[in-house]
């Protein structure tokens, strides 16, 4: 093989290995970092996996927000106003636009006793904005009423 072809072959092999290596790593990394979204119904009926980082969302049920008097722990109930409710426990500061009766997203793990332990609570960013994950749910609720 002449030297030019040889170096070209090396380059091709190198590129092939680099590209497939990167792709494989990407796939694995993606697999580990995907957070699926589950509506309240799937959280309650057991479709959502336990002890996995997932996202869930729905409306905060009126009158369910309870603060612990001595710490930053807070509990509230998320509902789809259609019979599926679950309780979220979160320690920390809630976002500015967190209100009762509004749509929110929580990220965290579902515990076997049905409690959702959130490490992040996301609310809308302004009055007009709705997280896309909640759009279907909000439309459904509006239809029912």
């Amino acid at each position: 093989m002449n030297p030019k072809r040889k170096s070209r072959l090396y380059l091709a092999v190198f590129l092939l290995i680099a590209v497939s290596g990167t792709t494989a790593t990407l796939m694995v990394a993606l697999e580990q970092n995907i957070n699926m979204f589950y509506p309240p119904e799937e959280v309650v009926n057991g479709t959502a996996p336990l002890d996995h980082i997932i996202r869930a969302g729905g409306m905060v049920r009126d009158g369910t927000v309870q603060r612990d008097p001595d710490s930053l722990e807070v509990q509230f109930t998320i509902t789809d106003y259609n019979g599926s409710d679950f309780v979220v426990s979160y320690t920390g500061i809630l976002p500015d636009l967190f209100r009762e009766g509004q749509g929110i997203l929580v990220e965290g793990k579902l515990h076997s006793d049905g409690m959702f332990l959130a490490h992040e609570v996301l609310a809308k960013h302004d009055e007009n904005y709705m997280p896309p994950e909640l759009m279907d749910l909000a439309a459904e609720i509006q239809e029912r009423n």
Binding site: A18, L30, I34, N35, R67, D70, L72, H125, Y129, P132
Partner: protein, 653 residues
């Protein structure tokens, strides 16, 4: 009336863009000289009419004309005047008009330098830019008209600007960022024109370089400003969230960074031509994809504008047309550009190649992480989000490789470098870099291998570049501005790496419940909460917390974070109290009131956080400095002469 004038001006600009597109692209015959030259005047005309339109919209904001729907939705009579003006680009329609204004501005700047380029080639460039501008203006007029009226349903007052946007950051961030986004249309147009004219050569690369550099500089500063704005205005102390819209601005930045390096090789060595063309196409295409992501509502984001499927369709079509068309042209014309210029592993060429490979892999990672949720939903219907660790997992090693390679750059020559030079640089300077890094590492707590690696890489870059500056200035002749620009940008990279490594590992964050007079320890500092009082702002009412911080060195200062309620929309917003410092920031934000005067409070201690943006500014200024180099000004005399053009053309044929 003013709004109608604005709309009319925009329509006239569209007509001019269409005409300039036609004359620029299709008047190549020798007898059509006059027609060709009219392109320039029509480019000036586009700028003038777009400016009229923009001023008309600003005027509608300044005079509270709430019969204009866009004004009614994004302003309020209580809004202070500077924010009324910046509210012009606070929403989808107006920000797109700003985009068009900046596009026309770039075309005007190009037109003012027309003497530097051969006439036919330059006609094509302006023609391509005009056609792109036509697409943008049509998008504005047909799917997102900022001048639409609400008559007779005119509201008495406006709905107010989102309080997050009532800020200095919004005044400067979008114009700079758009200058970068749209500026990438210039190298794109140069690349397309070069392919059409079959002159993909070193001269083309030299013409492209200053425009690409300056667009890149704007983009760099724009992205950095966005990060800084998120840091102080979102109120929770993060400076990068891997949010889809941040990614949308980061992807063209990565492509443009690869492009400015690859262009250098194409100019100096006449190689990497096809690759450079592809990067030029990719850079601008990614800007458009960014616009699509932000404006079509396909993704969850802080920045997402209101959703309208029509807009998404229009941008997607436009995108398909621009990307598809340019890639087809690339397929037809980019082949046969092979230049058999050999180079060894220790050469600038190979290191630019490394830079490009790393940046493109980084780009692939960001793109994958940003677009995967869309693809996943389209296929399975389920909604997913991608966690931040995904991005960090790749970026840490990638940027370390990039920095390690960057450190050798001052030693490298084109084509090949004597092994002796490499060896002496590594044996002399690497120990110095490691020593400096260890000194810094000694101060860190907690210690981690990643921080040590980042510090070594950053110190390695700083050491080799500083020694190079010293070596060159000792030789008596001052190096050209392009050299200073490059060196400043490379040092900026190192500064950012240090900032990122230290801030992400050494920061202290505490969410605590605080009662008045309570003292909390934040690292080595003490924070005392005095209480909360009510203050009145121009268009909001705030609960203002008062905190006294005593730092480790005994210095005392006061921070006053606020919880604001805006009167017009009833929006609540957290305004952090920040004591900014070169070495560390102390950052306090108020959460919510708890029982008996107690508040939920978030306390941050963020060492070297400013270095992240300071480094980015250095990169941006470096890019700007390189453009001022004499070699780009000399173009004028070189290409005025028709004889020289003829020879240049022959050599490419």
């Amino acid at each position: 009336m003013i709004a109608e004038i604005g709309q009319l001006s925009l329509a006239l600009a569209a007509c001019l863009a269409l005409a300039a597109g036609a004359t620029g692209m299709f008047s190549q015959a020798p007898g059509l000289r006059l027609l060709r030259q009219s392109t320039t005047s029509m480019v000036v005309g586009q700028f003038v009419f777009v400016s009229f339109a923009f001023v008309a919209l600003v005027w509608s904001f300044a005079t509270d004309d709430f019969s204009v729907a866009y004004v009614a939705n994004h302003s309020n009579s209580l809004l202070p005047l500077p924010y009324k003006i910046s509210a012009t680009w606070g929403g989808h329609e107006g920000s797109f008009l700003l985009w068009i204004l900046i596009m026309s501005g770039w075309m005007l700047a190009l037109a003012s330098r027309r003497a530097n380029y051969p006439e036919r080639f330059f006609g094509r460039v302006l023609g391509i830019m005009s056609l792109l501008n036509l697409g943008f203006i049509c998008f504005s007029l047909f799917t997102s008209n900022p001048f639409a009226r609400m008559i007779p349903m005119t509201p008495a007052d406006g709905a107010d600007l989102n309080p997050l946007l009532q800020d200095f950051g919004l005044i400067v961030h979008p114009p700079l960022l758009y200058a970068g986004y749209v500026g990438l249309a210039v190298p794109f147009a140069f690349a397309i024109a070069a392919m059409l004219e079959r002159r993909v050569d070193a001269a083309w690369a030299r013409w492209s370089r200053p425009w690409t550099n300056i667009a890149w500089a704007f983009l760099t500063v724009g992205v950095a400003l966005g990060s800084w704005w998120a840091y102080y205005e979102l109120g929770w102390g993060g400076w990068w969230f891997w949010d889809p819209v941040e990614n949308a601005s980061f992807m063209p930045w990565l492509a443009a960074t690869a492009l400015i390096h690859s262009l250098a090789v194409t100019e100096k060595r006449g190689t990497f031509k096809s690759w450079t063309l592809l990067l030029a196409i990719a850079g601008f295409s990614l800007s458009l994809i960014g616009a699509f992501i932000v404006r079509s509502g396909v993704l969850t984001s802080v920045h997402a504008f209101a959703v309208d499927p029509e807009r998404g369709k229009f941008i997607l079509l436009f995108l398909a047309f621009v990307v598809g068309g340019s890639l087809i042209l690339y397929g037809l014309r980019a082949g046969g550009q092979r230049a058999d210029v050999g180079f060894k592993i220790f050469s600038r060429e190979f290191f630019v190649l490394t830079n490009n490979v790393v940046l493109v892999v980084a780009l692939a990672v960001v793109m994958w992480g940003t677009l995967a949720p869309i693809g996943y939903e389209a296929i399975s219907g389920a909604r997913i989000s991608i966690g931040k660790p995904f991005f960090n997992m790749f970026f840490v090693p990638l940027m370390l490789v990039l920095g390690a390679a960057l450190g050798l750059v001052p030693v490298l020559n084109w084509k090949r470098t004597a092994w002796q030079n490499i060896k002496s640089a590594v044996t002399l300077l690497l120990p110095v870099a490691v020593l400096l890094a260890s000194l810094g590492f000694y101060l860190t707590e907690p210690k981690s291998a990643a921080v040590l690696a980042a510090l070594v890489v950053a110190m390695w870059v700083i050491t080799t570049h500083t020694v190079d500056i010293w070596r060159r200035s000792r030789s008596g002749r001052l190096p050209p501005l392009a050299y200073w620009g490059m060196t400043l940008a490379h040092l900026g990279f190192a500064v950012s790496v240090i900032g990122i490594a230290i801030t992400s590992t050494q920061s202290i964050e505490e969410d605590v419940r605080m009662e008045p007079q309570q003292v909390v320890q934040l690292g080595k500092a003490e924070v005392r909460f005095l209480g909360v009082r009510t203050v009145q702002g121009p268009n909001y009412q705030a609960q203002q917390g008062i905190f006294i911080v005593t730092s480790a060195s005994g210095e005392t200062f006061e921070l006053r974070p606020e919880k604001r309620r805006y009167l017009a929309g009833g929006n609540v917003m957290t305004e952090a109290g920040i004591q900014a410092g070169f070495f560390a920031d102390t950052y306090i934000s108020l959460g919510e009131p708890l029982s008996d005067d107690a508040w939920a409070v978030r306390l941050h201690y963020k060492p070297l956080v400013r270095w992240i943006w300071f480094g980015a500014l250095m990169m941006g200024f470096g890019g700007g400095l390189a453009v001022l180099d004499k070699r780009y000004r000399r173009l004028r005399t070189r290409h005025d002469k028709p004889a020289l053009n003829a020879t240049a053309k022959q050599s490419t044929a």
